[in-house]
Point group: C2
Chain length 468, copies 2
């Protein structure tokens, strides 16, 4: 009598065949070892680990194409993996499959100083690229905090502190090389600064979170290093005063490069962690780029605005070592929080609203936090109207999780009610699929139609962004 | 005996039923009069007129939705129409159908000075919007020359003179309201400055040339009017010298707002038309925005660069009336050419290349023009690497058309060989479909898959951008 053949066992057999083919192709650059799989089944977020069946370490676009062809033939899911620094479970292998780790694709292919652009393999990180550019007078502006790969940053439409002046990945990617779900390779655009030639596939793949293909090469814009850089910090009596300073700065058109906000709770942990002599009060960090005169003038203008809102302890400097000192506290925020709330995990979410609604959105959120038993902090790329709430939770405590979920839901719906978005820079992953529907409504069906047209078998990072 | 029923007669009957339904919906805002149809079957280009079967003048998104539903039910083609200033035959009714004229949708719905954005109906022109903004201290930056509607500008991913500093429609559209090919209405994004929430539908519809839906509302970014504006002009011994001045200006990072180039042939017609006392030599026009000091400094820097390249007669001014005088010659270029080459028609095409290849691309193009019997001129938004060639032809002379086509093909392939694009700002329409394939290769199949997924019956502006 034959054994019963289930869908699951067919899928499992197909997976085994696919992995065997990958071994033939890549040798020991395919791993099914538990520690490797576990390391690739989790990102930097609270989302629980779900390991893939195998991890393939690719070295070239051609190799990614071969890997994808093998997986496509057997309808095995594919999950692209950069540095694993995502925050919405983008790499969690919800349906198993093969994780394609592109971190070894770390060649800088071309830097054109004449055209202010660079073409890199998708595994190059932004720190690596900037290190490479050090003596060229150019830099790559997008800085999401973590040392993410450019492929991952493109896939999640990353931004970070400098977006208010230099834009996000949306504005800074000129072109992508993408391996489609059937293994074909396309380039989404030429290197011209602008084009009206057909649908904007570059912008379609930027932010597609691995659901439409694997990004293997990224061409990005570079910026000239300004002649002068100045940094400033300032404390405020209330978070509203700090936010209103941001709003007025943006509305006045001061070309601030970074303008970062932290609430008193964040400052409390930073001060204890970094042993700083600062008031436990909301704070702003700012950076200005330009000529010596311009950055001085900009700092003066912001100081006046801050003073109108009760800002105190305004410090500013153009000296590199002093700038670093002023900014260190901001960079320490993540570790400071981890230290302050030992034994908990940080659930970092983000929303983004029109700047005129930022003060209202943040103060209402603070009221929610104050009334809750779950500790939470606020930091933000305030110049964009973008801010993060970090819930400090034990994921194994259902009561804490339920409360964080309640606050989170209120936060997102508040942002949406202000005509904002459920995520300014973290992406949808598997954590915000329902919020995507709340935000976009009928437009989600257009996204689903596109997904189905490009990836009919739903093998590309299934379960992320959309339900298919 | 029954009459033979052909596909054509079924289509024709369906069209008649659809038009009858439109009459019921819109009354006398549907026209089948020959002059109205002819006016809507042609744009500002050399493409021959092909009139639609009817023209519907819509007044609201809801009305566009109803019109589209009627057309969809009968599989009648739909062609959205703004101001008819396109240059690649975007509105030519290749398969007949209903033209939806959105020019009466000209309400400015909301201006948010706090968020620096405005929401308008798609029939609002950029001049109308800027007139409306006059006392707000804000302006809308994109200026394609013609007084196009914002819907049309979004649909063709328009740019123009200011794109080098403020970006194209790609960067300046925050959100769109779109009527899908089945009549459903979506909004592509919220009003937040950035978002990582799902596929970038805004950028997908920007540049889709009416092939995926009808854009009915546009939310755009606004910019603050700078405290000072200066204009400058300069003549050069050769076009190469002028272009090298542009390249060095851009590579130095001088934040020029406009930097426009004209060749000697263009100058010759301008000088005769506007009776100006200028040398018949390549010329640059520039504009700078900033503080009084900044614009003076920028003009000085560019003057030094120009002098290094043999630039002469450098004039610059900050006075509004003098700025207008300096720029008038540039604005007159189109009419000057029409006057200089009476009896011919202007076939204006455009390509865009990485800035480092611009001098080579333009000088090689000039050699082609010099060796040809078809007169042609070059003007360009040189700071973007974007330039226009205007062939002066009689479309009824097959020899002239064939020669212009030969030059055109060489021009586009030259731009592509420099990693440029077949169109920087005019779009594909029905004139550049083969060049799109030459530029994008396999990626065109992704565009086709998207088109088929969103518009399965191919009723939205068929025959434009893609062959389906």
């Amino acid at each position: 009598m034959a054994l019963p053949v289930t869908v699951e066992s067919v899928a499992s057999a197909a997976r085994d065949v696919a992995i065997a083919s990958l071994h033939q192709l890549l040798g020991d650059r395919v791993s099914t070892a538990a520690p490797v799989r576990e390391q690739h089944g989790k990102d930097a977020s609270y989302h629980p680990c779900v390991p893939p069946d195998a991890v393939a370490f690719a070295q070239s676009t051609a190799e990614v194409s071969e890997i994808v062809k093998i997986c496509a033939r057997h309808k095995v899911p594919i999950i692209p993996f950069g540095s694993g620094t995502g925050l919405e479970g983008h790499v969690v292998a919800l349906r198993g499959g093969v994780c394609i780790d592109i971190s070894r694709m770390n060649q800088i292919l071309q830097v054109s100083t004449g055209d202010l652009d660079a073409k890199v393999q998708a595994g190059v990180t932004h720190e690596q690229l900037n290190e490479h550019l050090r003596d060229t007078g150019l830099f790559f502006s997008v800085d999401p905090g973590a040392n993410a790969t450019l492929g991952g940053m493109a896939a999640t439409r990353a931004s970070g502190t400098t977006a208010v002046r230099y834009g996000t990945m949306r504005e800074n990617v000129l072109s992508l090389t993408v391996v489609l779900p059937d293994g074909r390779v396309i380039r989404t655009a030429r290197r011209a600064r602008k084009s009206s030639a057909g649908y904007d596939l570059t912008r379609l793949f930027v932010g597609s979170e691995g659901t439409l293909g694997v990004i293997t090469e990224v061409t990005v814009r570079l910026c000239g290093v300004p002649p002068a850089i100045s940094a400033a910090t300032c404390s405020f009596p209330t978070i509203e005063a700090a936010v209103n300073t941001v709003i007025e700065t943006i509305q006045t058109g001061i070309p601030v490069v970074r303008i970062e906000l932290a609430d008193a709770a964040t400052m409390n942990s930073i001060i204890r962690y970094s042993k700083l002599d600062l008031p436990v009060a909301p704070m702003l960090w700012m950076e200005f780029h330009g000529t010596e005169n311009a950055v001085a003038e900009q700092a003066r203008m912001v100081q006046r605005i801050a003073a109108d809102h009760g800002g105190a302890n305004f410090s500013w400097t153009t000296r590199p070592e002093d700038r670093q000192r002023l900014w260190r506290a901001r960079h320490d925020a993540y570790y400071a929080k981890k230290a302050a709330y030992l034994g908990t995990q940080l659930w970092a979410t983000d929303v983004c609203v029109p700047i005129s609604r930022l003060a209202e959105c943040i103060t209402e959120t603070q009221k929610d936090i104050a009334a809750s038993f779950v500790p939470a902090t606020i930091v933000g790329h305030a110049g964009d109207g973008n801010f993060h709430v970090g819930f400090m939770i034990n994921p194994n405590e259902p009561k804490e999780m339920a409360e964080a979920e309640r606050l989170h839901e209120r936060l997102v719906h508040r942002a949406l009610s202000f005509d904002g978005t459920c995520t300014g820079e973290h992406g949808i992953g598997c954590g915000k699929i329902d919020f995507l529907i709340a935000e976009h409504g009928e437009a989600v069906s257009v996204m689903q139609a596109i997904k189905k047209a490009i990836d009919p078998d739903n093998i590309m990072n299934p379960g992320k962004i959309l339900r298919v």
